[in-house]
Amino acid sequence: MTTLVSKLRQSTAAAVLAVTAASFAGDAFAKDLTITVWAGGTNDSDVYRLDAIEMAADMLEREYEILGEELNITVEKKRDFADWAAFKQAVTLAAEAGDAPNIVVTSHLDIAPWSQAGLIVPVEDYVDMDAWPLNNLYDNLVEITSYNDVVYGLPQDAESRPFFFWKDTMKQLGYSDAEIEALPAKVESGEYTLANVLEDAKKAVEMELVEEGYGFYPRVSNGPDYAQFYQSFGGELLDKDTGKLLLDKQAMTDFYQFFVDAVEAKVTRKNHIGTEWDQWYAEVASGKAATWHGGTWHYARYTGKEGLDDFFGNIQFTLIPAGNENGRANTITHPLAYLLTAQDDEDDVEIAAQLIKIASEPRINTLHAIKSAHLGIAREQSNIELYANDRWAAEATERLLGQANAQPNHTGYGQFSQIMFKGLETAWTGTRTPAEAVAEVEAEMKATLGDEVIIR
């Protein structure tokens, strides 16, 4: 009996030991973690911004498994923010409360303020920029996601913001097919300017080809697009020598005046700002407007949800035309970036870094580029059939990206662009004349940006 009891005791002890050992061993090799990813400005067609992280997690788990470690990553995705303002408010306040998502997909413009505040950490501290796939990224895009010569983020997509013409209306205005085909080159060389846009738009309204207010149908809310018109009239956003922001009063006045002229000529509505986006998309994709401007990603919306079957047969796209002899035809690229937030556990940051690295694989990024009609981030994408065979990606890259510049990464740029747009709105709606609006802009920039802005 005693032997039986002692044997029982021994085996129980052995079993307890074995179980303990197994669980400790498990602890040593298995790592479970949750990576949260938040993406701003992300619609149904942009889901690969988030899904790419999931795909990357799968790949990283497999890599770890081969190295004999068990890694279980749960990716939590969030993109249901009302707009950019709501997204940025959510990210900043969550980060201040110590509850930031691991990865954010946002404008490269957030890098400057967020890095100063310590909300994000440099991605170059965690990944090898010389290794695949990061050594294949376009250098200019990596430059855009850097600040103070430090790579803070990885470019998630590229785009640019073209000017659009509805071909049928242009034909009725007297343009031949050949002339419409030659329009992009004419815009680029500065032969066709915003003055011509106004002229054609006015004719289109007078000939009743389009309704009043639909000759030139701009973006309905604040956005980088409006800085393009400032550049069209010779404005520059940053003084390269001093690294300070630049307010060119003459260019700003001319830029505001253009929109005021458009309203006076009845080609643009005075109350245009604030129009619903859904209505706007439906109207431009159905030829209700003669000319307008938008983004390369609009292609997905026009041909998808809005049901425009023959994009190239109906729409011509060019750079934003020059405004006058001081300016140039231009377009702004506003890449989104994957950013890593500061976390208590550095291991989590490293895993997140590896995930955004893998998500930058040309093949994975191509899924996003083609589904959402954005442009690629890496050179090798042109060797991937899905990308290479897409007419829009190919033509938009060739026609626009060469002339594209980005807005500056500067802690004061957010305020700069906000004040610039506010000034535009007051002139556009007739609350102030362009000269008065610029005077207000100057006063406000001087007061809020101080030394960080040069006024010319």
Binding site: N222, I273, Q418, A439, T448
Partner: protein, 434 residues
């Protein structure tokens, strides 16, 4: 203290807690924030010290010597004995020996170059992160390092052999601090921005017009429903109460449907040849009409209930007597009802002024301050500045200063109203009990 006092305090405690949590603490924090330059870039929880291209530019602007700025801005990685000893401790002798034998004395101007050199070594650490950490052991400059304290930064600068005078040290730590600092500039800033003055004007317009609309409509409804048979009066009151109990978003959405280019008004007027337009945002005047209507209708329901009950408390005999004397309805309203509604009207005016000053949700949802800032009111501007704008550059300090102005105006207005009401008279004991 008697037990009864404690009990009273106990009963009061929820109210005290609410006052503390929802009024005093927010107000104190607003006061605190408004005397800072806090923004997204400075962060809320505090800053650090970092020498980088942007902060060096600020340092030069602040008058630092060019040579000093240049020395601080130099990036350098040097393979020296100190670094090799540190590498041996962290990543093993083999790696350290290899570095020592092949690279001793070499200088690199960026970490990336040093990483590249390390990757050629056989015994290098096999993870990217470790290579970067190993490279940092050889860093002999202070560029792009985040120091939590000024002492840490100064120590690192001196460790790297950069001499500083006390003045230079003070200028450096003051200029390159990334966090917020105390300042009273926000108030001067507000006065300098022309837009702020326009918004102040808008706010006065908003309060006066909306108050007039809601009190006027409230009075009209209270008086007209008073003269209706009680059953239909109740249904009318219920209908007019709907806007108040309807979620704000839905209420405003219905107004938007009414006013959109493709909405009800446009479709209706299209029959008369009027081209469609967004009636709400067409001009500043249009936007104001809608703002006043939206807010006025919501506000009217409160007035209607209060005035309605006040009218009911007027002794019926007075009205009967006036009818015997041959008074018309209009005379009854002018000589009996309105004079006795003086206090409720004043109360609604006072209460609504204060709540209108701080309320912006209906404007935010309908025009969002547009067109061109024509309907931007003070509280909405504070919200946009501090918490919600497209560029994401949240200016907590300036926004709080704007909000503080509202608190001050609110308190002043309350004092003025208390004086007009003669509050002591209102709470005096009825004469009959004296």
């Amino acid at each position: 203290m008697r037990r009864a006092h404690l009990l009273g305090l106990g009963f009061l405690s929820p109210a005290l807690a609410i006052i503390l949590m929802l009024f005093l603490i927010p107000v104190l924090l607003t006061v605190m924030f408004s005397f800072t330059n806090m923004s997204t870039a400075t962060g809320i929880s505090g800053g650090a010290y970092e020498i980088n291209a942007a902060s060096l530019r600020k340092l030069a602007d602040a008058g630092a010597q060019e040579s000093f700025v240049e020395t601080l801005g130099k990036e350098s990685f040097v393979v020296d004995d100190a670094g090799i000893t540190a590498a041996a401790a962290a990543y093993g002798e083999q790696f350290a020996n290899e570095v020592g034998s092949q690279m001793l004395g070499e200088r690199f101007s960026s970490r990336r170059d040093l990483e590249r050199a390390f990757r050629k070594l056989k015994s290098r650490p096999r993870s990217t992160r470790d290579i970067k950490k190993a490279a940092n052991l050889f860093k002999r400059s202070v560029l792009n390092i985040r120091f939590e304290t000024a002492g840490g930064l100064v120590g690192a600068v001196t460790d790297n052999g950069i001499e500083m005078t006390p003045d230079q040290q003070e200028l450096l730590t003051k200029t390159i601090y990334t966090g917020w600092t105390w300042t009273s500039d926000n108030f001067a800033l507000m006065a300098q921005i022309p837009y702020v003055w326009r918004v102040a004007g808008n706010t006065v317009l908003y309060v006066v017009l909306t108050l007039a609309a809601s009190v006027g409509l409230g009075l009209f409804l209270a008086i007209t429903t008073f003269y209706l048979p009680s059953s239909s009066a109740t249904s009318f009151r219920a209908i007019w109460f709907l806007p108040r109990i309807l979620p704000n978003v839905i209420f405003v959405l219905m107004w938007k449907w009414l006013a959109w280019d493709t909405g009800f008004l446009s479709s209706l007027f299209a029959n008369f040849g009027v081209p469609p337009r967004n009636w709400m945002l067409d001009t500043g005047v249009n936007a104001w009409v809608f703002i006043v209507l939206i807010n006025g209708i919501v506000g009217a329901s409160l007035g209607m209930i209060l005035f309605g009950s006040a009218i009911k408390s007027i002794p019926q005999s007075m009205l009967h007597a006036s009818e015997v004397d041959g008074a018309s309805r209009w005379q009854q309203i002018c000589y009996i009802i309105l004079p006795q509604l003086r206090w409720p009207i004043m109360f609604i005016c006072a209460y609504s002024t204060l709540s209108l000053l701080t309320s912006f949700e209906y404007i935010l949802l309908s025009t969002d301050g547009g067109p061109g800032g024509a309907t931007e009111v003070w509280s909405l501007m504070a919200f946009h500045t501090a918490l919600d704008n497209y560029a994401g550059n949240l200016q907590y300090g300036l926004g709080a200063a704007m909000a503080l102005m509202l608190v001050i105006v609110g308190i002043l207005a309350s004092l003025v109203y208390l004086r007009i009401f003669n509050f002591n008279d209102l709470v005096a004991k009825p004469r009959i009990e004296q």
